[in-house]
Structure formats: structure tokens, C-alpha cells
């Protein structure tokens, strides 16, 4: 047996693994535990370098079941950047080196998911990502009931994993292969009942992880009891990965378009309407993130390369805007996490209030911000593929969403009496990170053609 192996292809996977091991070794000596932070960032920077080196090699195969194409390299670079941001938000918070090692392993699992076109590898990587994420979450002491929320997420995720693996076994049974491309070739003529059932079960599992309506009930409960770094992780990285899996799957398999249109419309409507009545900030963010997944699904329904590009644009916009919001909110000390505490924030902290306002306007999709461009692209795809009903639902939803984001801004500028404040003694890394993200987002909204170039890189060479 001849195994053709090139170190270049494996380096993006070797670096996070190696440095996470170093983190665990550093954790053994209390004097060395500060090294965990260093190893984490060095590992991610090396990974970024290795991923950038792959541009000249795509598309190719590695280890028989991983496919490196532009989507993988683009997604990998996005993911590395997101993890650098999450790490930067946690500098000084995560004292134990193990936590940094765990976060690197979560990253490794997520990276493998992006390259996996073999359903077995996909499942293993998904569970590696998920179980280590739960472990990482359990370390947090901030938030109302972090352990309770972690166990809740673990049980929900384990339940969902059962559906995923059941679906994979039926897909294998109907097509005789675990490779997505092979399954796609097998079923293209006459999809059998077993194939349809398997795909449905697989999707239910992924929908749970994406917290798409009607599988969204866990999101608000987990978010409201946990700390902001965890919320950012769940609302950004796990959705990024879920959407990537769907993108991969529907690039090869025939898409149940009516089902996805229904789910997208339902998700954005339920998310936005539920967000209208929330009194707690974390619950509002949870429902807002659910609504954004609805828009992402809408781009997926397009089903063509243009849809993928709109999705890539939307992912750039949504992930980084949400990170910035989480960063700003992380700075404040809040008593009860109620939205009334934001009353009159502009008087106490004018610059932070302004930053939050810009982020909220972006999430609402108001014209000068990145949110408008991203939403426009998604609407364009829906228009061109003739999804008029979905388009109308989405536009109405944007109006509903604008209401609760703007109401939040009105609170900050036009009301008085809130108690929220920023204890200045800590939070410098968070502040610096947030400023970096904001500068990046503003640059992209001033030069939308950069955004176009960035998102078109993703689809330049899909395998």
C-alpha cells in the first residue's frame, strides 16, 4: 500500500494539535501556565500561515477523505481569525493553560469539518468539536448558571448527534458509500425512500446544532445562563460550521428546496418575533442569532455559486459584527442582564454607546453599514432564483428586526436611569480586540469591493 502524503497538506492540522499538547504540558507546572496563552496564539498564527500556503495547491485530496478546495482554505482562514478573536477576548480571563489547549482542539475539530466530504470523518470531527466545546464551556464561572447551561447544551447536542448518525447510516445504506460525491452520483437518478429519510435525519441533527426553528428551544436557555465568550462561540463558530456543512452537503446532493424555504422563513420569523418581547440582553442576542441563521439559509436555498458567495459575504458580516457586540457587552458589569440597564448609556460611556450603536445598526441592516450590503446580496439571490414568497417574508422580517435593534439604541440615547457601567480596571484586551474588529468592519463597508473579492475567493475553486 502506498500512502502519498505531503507534509504541507497536513501542517494546518498538525500545528493546532501540537500546540494544544504543549498547552497541556504547560498546565502541569503552575509557573508555566501563563504559557498556555502564548502557545494558543502561536499555534493559530502558524496554522494561518500553513493555510495561506495551501492556496497554490488547491484543489487536492489529503488522506483519502479530506478535500482541500477554495471553500476549505477560505473557511479555514475565517475560522482561524475568529478563534484568534475569541482568544483575544479571553486573554486574562482564562488562567489555566488547559483551557487554551481545549480551545485549540475545538478549533482542530472545526477545521476538519470544513474539509470533510466523507460523512464518517464529518461525524467524528463534529463530535470532537462539540464535546471539547462543552468541556471548554464547563470551565467558565461567569454567567448565572454556567454548569447548568453546559449540561443542557450537552444533552441537547448528544440527542442531536443521535439523529445525525442515524441519518448517516441510512444514507450509507441507500447509496453504498459515505463519500458525498459518490452519494450524489448514486441518488441523482431516482432518490429512494431510505435516502430521503436518511437526509432528513441528518439535517435534523445539523439543524439542532444550528438552532434552526423548530429545533431552537435550547439556544435562549443556554445563552442566558452563560458568559459572553461562550455566547460568542455558540452564536458564531457553531453556526459557521453548521452552515458550512449544509453548503458542502447541498453542493453534492439534490436539495429539498421546499423544506429549506419553509425552515428559513419559519426561522427568521420566529427568531425576530420572539426577540421583540425579550427583556434580557442575552436572550435577545439568542433570538437575534436565530433570525440571522434564517437569512443564511435563504442564501443557501439559491443553491448556485452566487448563493454561496452571498452566504460567504453574510458570514463575514455576521460573525465579526456579533464578535464586536459580544466584546462591547463583555466590558460592562451588569446586575441582572436586563435591557433597562442600558438606559442613558450614552451619558456615562459615549464611545462605547457609539460602538454598540454601530454594531446594532449593522445587525439591523441599515444602509451605510456592512449589514445592508450582506442582506442585499442575499435578497438578490432569492430574487434571481424566483423565491418571491421567501423574499417578502425576509423583507418584512428586516423591518421587525429593525424595531428591536433601534429600540435598544433609543434606550441608550433618549432614556435615563440605567445602572450599567464599565469598571475600567479590567478589559483592556477586550477593548483593543473590539476596536480592531470595528476598524475592519468599517473598512469593508467603505470599500464593498474588498468584501466582494474576499467572498469570491471562497467559491473560486470548489471541489
Amino acid at each position: 500500500m502506498n500512502v502519498d502524503i505531503s507534509l504541507n497538506l497536513l501542517l494546518p492540522l498538525i500545528w493546532p494539535g501540537l500546540f494544544s499538547m504543549l498547552c497541556f504540558v504547560a498546565a502541569l507546572q503552575p509557573a508555566l501556565s501563563a504559557l498556555g496563552t502564548v502557545f494558543y496564539f502561536v499555534g493559530l498564527v502558524f496554522t494561518l500561515h500553513a493555510l495561506a500556503g495551501l492556496w497554490s495547491l488547491v484543489p487536492c485530496e489529503a488522506l483519502g477523505s479530506m478535500y482541500y478546495d477554495s471553500l476549505f482554505v477560505w473557511g479555514g482562514i475565517m475560522l482561524t481569525t475568529l478563534f484568534i478573536v475569541i482568544g483575544a477576548l479571553n486573554v486574562g480571563r482564562m488562567k489555566q493553560a488547559e483551557r487554551w489547549g481545549l480551545l485549540l482542539l475545538v478549533f482542530l475539530g472545526a477545521l476538519v469539518i470544513l474539509a470533510a466530504k466523507d460523512l464518517l470523518l464529518l461525524f467524528v470531527a463534529l463530535e470532537m468539536f462539540f464535546i471539547l466545546l462543552v468541556l471548554w464551556m464547563a470551565f467558565f464561572e461567569e454567567g448565572d448558571h454556567p454548569i447548568y447551561a453546559t449540561v443542557r447544551l450537552f444533552l441537547t447536542g448528544a440527542f442531536a448527534a443521535g439523529f445525525t448518525v442515524l441519518g448517516i447510516s441510512f444514507l450509507f445504506g441507500s447509496a453504498g458509500s459515505l463519500n458525498l460525491a459518490d452519494i450524489g452520483r448514486q441518488v441523482s437518478d431516482a432518490p429512494s425512500f431510505f435516502y430521503a429519510f436518511g437526509l432528513l435525519m441528518f439535517l435534523v441533527g445539523i439543524f439542532f446544532k444550528l438552532s434552526v426553528v423548530p429545533f431552537h428551544h435550547w439556544a435562549a436557555e443556554v445563552y442566558q445562563d452563560h458568559a459572553y465568550p461562550v455566547i460568542a462561540m455558540l452564536a458564531v463558530v457553531s453556526k459557521f460550521i453548521g452552515i458550512f456543512i449544509l453548503m458542502r452537503v447541498f453542493f453534492h446532493l439534490p436539495m429539498p428546496r421546499e423544506l429549506l424555504v419553509g425552515i428559513a422563513a419559519l426561522t427568521m420569523t420566529v427568531g425576530n418575533v420572539a426577540a421583540l418581547v425579550q427583556q434580557r440582553v442575552k436572550r435577545l442576542l439568542a433570538f437575534s442569532s436565530i433570525a440571522h441563521v434564517g437569512f443564511l439559509l435563504m442564501a443557501l436555498v439559491g443553491g448556485n455559486l452566487q448563493g454561496f458567495q452571498a452566504m460567504a459575504t453574510y458570514l463575514i458580516y455576521y460573525t465579526f459584527t456579533f464578535m464586536a457586540i459580544a466584546g462591547v457587552l463583555m466590558l460592562f458589569r451588569s446586575q441582572e442582564d436586563r435591557i433597562e440597564e442600558f438606559d442613558g448609556l450614552s451619558g456615562r460611556h459615549p464611545y462605547l454607546a457609539l460602538t454598540l450603536t454601530v454594531c446594532l445598526l449593522a445587525l439591523a441592516g441599515i444602509p451605510p453599514t456592512l449589514g445592508f450590503i450582506a442582506k442585499w446580496k442575499v435578497f438578490e439571490v432569492a430574487y434571481q432564483t424566483g423565491q418571491m414568497g421567501l423574499l417578502v417574508v425576509a423583507i418584512l422580517n428586516s423591518l421587525v428586526a429593525a424595531y428591536y435593534y433601534l429600540a435598544w439604541i433609543v434606550r441608550m440615547y433618549m432614556k435615563q436611569g440605567g445602572t450599567l457601567y464599565w469598571p475600567r480596571e479590567k478589559g483592556l484586551p477586550v477593548l483593543v480586540t473590539t476596536i480592531f474588529i470595528m476598524v475592519g468592519l468599517l473598512a469593508l463597508s467603505v470599500y464593498p469591493e474588498w468584501l466582494n473579492q474576499l467572498s469570491s475567493l471562497a467559491i473560486s475553486n470548489i471541489l
Binding site: M1, V3, I5, G17, M21, F24, V25, L28, S192, F194
Partner: protein, 123 residues
């Protein structure tokens, strides 16, 4: 396609039928007279000494977990041994990496006191 699943369906039916049939038969045929001795938990004929749900140290759980993990890792060695000759040095290096990862985890556990069961020997 569907006909291939008939044996599995038959097997499931047999399993349900056997389990349900046994329960039904004992319900219908047994005299069903309750007594204190009959309602007690069955302990191989002995009188129960204490509650069944005693608490015990978390270390048992940790050691059991580690045993399972390393047991399964050992199973990979058998498969590796089958193909190592035909795959050559690549397989050797691959297994060396695997063993190093295991060893790092093992030393981490020792250092963190997973195997320290609260017993002091030789003192």
C-alpha cells in the same frame, strides 16, 4: 430494496414477541401473591444489608474511564500490526506520533493525581 430489510424486521418482531410473551405468560400463569419477602430486592437469597444507592469516590469513575480509553487505544495496535509491514516507515512514524500523544495524556493524568486514590503507601 425493501425486501432486504425483511430479516431485520423479523428479528425485531421475534425480539419483541419473546420479551413481551414471557412477561405476559408470567403475568397470566403466576399466582401473583405479594409478600414482604417477595417485594424485597433480590440479593442472591441474602437479606439486604443497606440501601442499594451508596455513594462512592469519584476516583473509581476516573480510573474506569481511563481504563476504557486506554483499552480502546490498545485495540488500534492490533490493526496497525496487520498492515505495518506493507506500509513501511510511514506506519511506524504514524504510530510513534500516536504513542507520544497517549504518553503526554498519561503523564498529564499522573501529574494531576487521577491515579492517586487517597491511599498512602509506605508511610
Amino acid at each position: 430494496m425493501v425486501s432486504q430489510f425483511v430479516p431485520i424486521g423479523l428479528m425485531i418482531l421475534c425480539a419483541i414477541g419473546f420479551a413481551g410473551g414471557t412477561l405476559l405468560a408470567s403475568y397470566l400463569l403466576g399466582p401473583g401473591k405479594a409478600s414482604i419477602r417477595k417485594s424485597m430486592p433480590y440479593e442472591c437469597g441474602l437479606e439486604p444489608l443497606q440501601e442499594g444507592r451508596g455513594r462512592y469516590s469519584i476516583h473509581f469513575y476516573m480510573v474506569a474511564l481511563m481504563f476504557i480509553v486506554f483499552d480502546i487505544e490498545a485495540a488500534f495496535f492490533f490493526l496497525w500490526a496487520l498492515v505495518v509491514k506493507s506500509m513501511g516507515w510511514f506506519a511506524v512514524i504514524e504510530m510513534a506520533v500516536f504513542v507520544v500523544i497517549l504518553l503526554v495524556a498519561y503523564f498529564y493524568m499522573i501529574k494531576k493525581g487521577v491515579f492517586d486514590l487517597g491511599m498512602e503507601y509506605g508511610h
